[in-house]
Symmetry: C2
Subunit: 353 residues, 2 copies
């Protein structure tokens, strides 16, 4: 059998892994807020708060924790499991010291790894969950992320009560949480590979133009994925970034074109899918750890599950900053992680060497 | 060969992994501040700032980033590698949105996973690095964490200029960064297993008594490790927590005793090793992501390398909170990850089934 590690996982290029033993996405759940429910994907979410986005809590932070807990419980239930059957949890959010996750998943009592990758965290969590499943570290892992408009505005900008004006380049942080059970049990959707992102810094300092800050990282990870796997953009049905928004998208197209890749026919962006720019006044688009997660759970995965799309590259994008780094004059670098998600016929699935 | 995954990794109990293909700690580096240099471990650090703890920067945050960068460069150099030979980096710190790490490791251009586990992050990073090496996801990984007294006081309490009084139960955040190269190349020190921690909440709300907040998580992870691996405390030369301090230690002993384990002869705490309580006025002890990391790099690993200790359980401990969660009345749960580190004779090392 030779070197079994080579049989199990192929190191691709400099940043990617190709899982010979795939990790299946067994279930996905999305919980979202009122504005998201009024958007183009509104009917697809598993649970929404039509009232006040507080999800029964008294603070935005606790509301975000409640969303995460609900998303986890829904995903675990959809997979026909119980929390004690989940070996490890990989989760994160945008708040300082990741309290939305700590307080949200505590009740589940699953051994956990706390993550921070800004809005790329859903990619980071799926990558680590898939790595752990493919390595045989357990039958089922849980990946969860969240963001909340109220807690994020308070964390990064101003409390909502200030009614601050927002520039047209600003994003609207999605109130939502997405959770995914990744496991060995064969299903119709598998994570076949990942491309782990580097920090990419073009020196931009405008935290109200996150699309521009993140687009270089998205371009870097997408091009690296294509090179590492020896693919072209044509090998994917869609290449879907997390939350570049309309401004970031145009920069991504330019940067990719400079490197010889035309992404225009293949690209979608979760931040542009989740709100209607004509009627919802969200400027550049949606953003936040929850944006890519709920879009994947509610809109993208069903298309892969059904076979409408055979293979996508899902690339959540993050802008690395805090109010402190921003106020001290630091630039806002970006990071993006690429997750290759494929349709597979259930009867043909399973691990084959 | 049967189920090769069973050959490669044994799932132990409910939370632990035993690596049949071990991950070796190839090198370690420690960078620390002036007060730490004056403490009992002061002569053992690789690099110290004897001046002003700014490490050539203008802000505490940038100083912390510089420490991380220096620790990484030192560790990579000691392993005889270059940054491009490190497949993935696992890193984190205590600051909001992990900016010390993002800004610190950016120059290395290593694909990276950002982590947050409060002061348990060094254990989280080592666990994920070891999991990745053992799974064959690359020959070398880097684990790095940091904390800085100046940036942490500003982040969690008050700016230093306020000269706030500290209660006797308070910890002193260590100014330091530790970095570790974990790889396949056989050496004298291996990570043979891990126990991933759960969030444990006893409902304590005193953020100035972190030892009490973290002790239940430490007890939970240590007892779980012993049960999962079928060991007693006697099977370890030392069981070493991250930063419980003197108050947390006494609570740990009580909680472990309630579960039938006597840890008194085996326990050390990095927070109690790094400062001299008689002369350094650090109250309950040292703390921070950097505390356990620099103590491991400078003091613990050389004892394992030499064979003075054959096997230790290293258990960094974290208190999960932010100023927002604290001000909103949330409790301060804890988390602790256990890393089993063993001495192995170099000539006898290597992977054997």
């Amino acid at each position: 059998m030779g070197n079994f590690l080579m049989d199990q996982t192929k190191l691709c290029g400099t940043q990617s892994l190709h899982f010979q033993r795939p990790a299946y996405i067994l279930s996905a759940a999305s919980v979202a807020g009122k504005k998201e429910a009024e958007g183009p994907l509104g009917k697809k979410f598993d649970m929404v708060d039509e009232q006040d986005n507080l999800f029964g809590a008294k603070t935005w932070e606790e509301a975000e924790s409640n969303m995460q807990k609900e998303a986890c419980i829904l995903a675990i239930g959809k997979a026909g499991l119980k929390p004690e059957k989940i070996r490890y949890l990989f989760g994160g959010d945008l708040l300082r010291q990741g309290i939305a996750t700590s307080m949200g998943v505590e009740a589940l009592q699953i051994p956990m790894f706390g993550l921070y990758g800004a809005c790329s965290t859903s990619g980071e969590a799926l990558a680590l969950a898939a790595m752990s499943v493919s390595a045989g570290y357990g039958d089922s892992m849980l990946a969860v992320t969240s963001s909340h408009f109220g807690s994020a505005e308070k964390e990064f900008r101003f409390p909502l009560g200030y009614a601050s004006q927002r520039p047209l380049s600003a994003h609207w942080t999605v109130t939502g949480s997405g959770a995914f059970v990744v496991g060995t049990d064969p299903g119709n959707v598998k994570i076949s590979g990942i491309t782990v992102g580097k920090i990419v810094d073009y020196g931009l300092k405008d935290s109200q133009n996150m699309g521009a800050c993140m687009a270089p990282a998205a371009a870097d990870t997408i091009v690296r994925n294509l090179k590492d796997f020896g693919r072209t953009a044509e090998d994917y049905d869609r290449i879907i970034t997390g939350d570049l928004g309309s401004i970031g998208q145009s920069i991504l197209f330019d940067l990719a074109a400079e490197k010889g890749y035309d992404l225009r026919q293949k690209h979608l962006d979760c931040g542009m899918l989740i709100f209607d720019p004509e009627t919802q006044d969200t400027h550049a688009g949606g953003s936040g750890c929850g944006c890519a997660a709920v879009t994947l759970a509610s809109y993208l995965l069903p298309k892969i599950e059904s076979g409408e799309w055979k293979r996508i590259l899902f690339v959540p994008t993050g802008a690395l900053m805090s109010t402190v780094s921003f106020n001290e004059g630091a630039s806002v670098p970006g990071i993006a992680h690429g997750i290759v998600i494929e349709h597979c016929r259930k009867e043909a699935a399973g691990w084959t060497i």
